[in-house]
């Protein structure tokens, strides 16, 4: 176990980040506290890096959520509205569920706020890389806020190979350095195959368009 001044420690299967909560964490916690009553989820992308110490701004928090039927979504949507979230795409289930049904992302923010917002990303098994990370979560905890992220090696490779802009490469560098003591080469190799297959699918798709 690392000493107390360390940026993180490992307890069992959980990565404990050794810091206090920010207002951004509290916003995400408030949303996931509602979401997890109705569905499983995975937080991906920028918040993974920021929550582990990367110093940069963000406007949206990306959360993968498995596609759900209309009744289940209705309960979640009503619960979010009761907890002072509003949806960019509409105020009624009929307006918003069509997005979910067609696997289109929607966004939620707190009443009278635009940012930060939650980018709610519906997924199904056809989105192979996303489904893989969703089904292989890594638990992470900051004080009393415990949430799920992809395996760090997967997140690093996704940022380097699929996203690849300046901000993503910097996020990947942060994760590679901060977690260098626990990252495993074997996992990088395993995940690279999955991510490259998504990359090839995307290339095929864009050629067909």
């Amino acid at each position: 176990m690392r000493k107390n001044q360390s940026g993180y420690i490992i307890e069992g299967e959980i990565i404990i980040i050794n810091r206090s909560l920010t207002k951004l964490d509290l916003f995400v916690k408030k949303f996931t506290d509602v979401l997890k009553k109705h569905s499983d989820y995975l937080i991906v992308s920028g918040f993974v890096s920021i929550s582990t110490g990367r110093t940069r701004g963000t406007e949206d928090i990306d959360i993968l959520v498995p596609i759900m039927d209309k009744d289940k979504f209705k309960n979640l949507f009503n619960d979010l509205q009761e907890n002072n979230f509003w949806c960019y795409q509409g105020d009624t289930i009929d307006e918003v569920y069509s997005y979910i049904d067609s696997l289109t992302n929607i966004r939620f923010a707190q009443i009278n706020e635009m940012f930060p917002n939650i980018e709610f990303i519906p997924i199904n098994e056809a989105r192979k890389a996303k489904y893989f990370e969703f089904t292989h979560p890594q638990k992470i905890k900051i004080k009393n806020f415990e949430f799920k992220i992809p395996p760090i090696e997967f997140e690093v490779l996704y940022k380097e190979l699929i996203l690849g802009d300046k901000k993503d490469l910097a996020d990947a560098k942060h994760l590679r350095t901060f977690f260098s003591d626990i990252l495993k080469e074997k996992k990088f190799k395993e995940y690279e195959t999955i991510i490259r297959s998504e990359l090839n699918e995307n290339k095929k798709g864009s050629r067909l368009c």
Binding site: Q5, S6, G7, Y8, N18, R19, S20, T22, K23, L24, I50, G53, R54, T55, G57, E59, W86, Y88, Q89, D91, R107, I111, N112, E113, M114, F115, P116, K166, L169, A170, K173, H174, T177, F178, S180, D181
Partner: protein
């Protein structure tokens, strides 16, 4: 470590953060300052009374919603 490009700063900061969690205080300050500025800007721009209506008009304008 010689700093030559932006990524070197990211690496150096992450390396130091690994063994010194006091640096998280600095990070918290920067993140919360951005949130405060953004919140205040949009509250002023859209006003509280018709916030959603005005916000959606803006979001359509920038193509974030249909």
């Amino acid at each position: 470590m010689k700093i030559k490009k932006d990524l070197d700063y990211v690496e150096l900061y992450a390396e130091k953060l690994k063994n010194n969690n006091n640096l998280f205080k600095q990070q918290k300050g920067i993140i919360e300052s951005q949130l405060k500025s953004s919140s205040s800007l949009f509250k002023k721009t859209f006003k509280t009374k018709n916030f959603k209506v005005n916000a959606r008009k803006y979001l359509r304008g920038i193509g974030l919603i249909q």
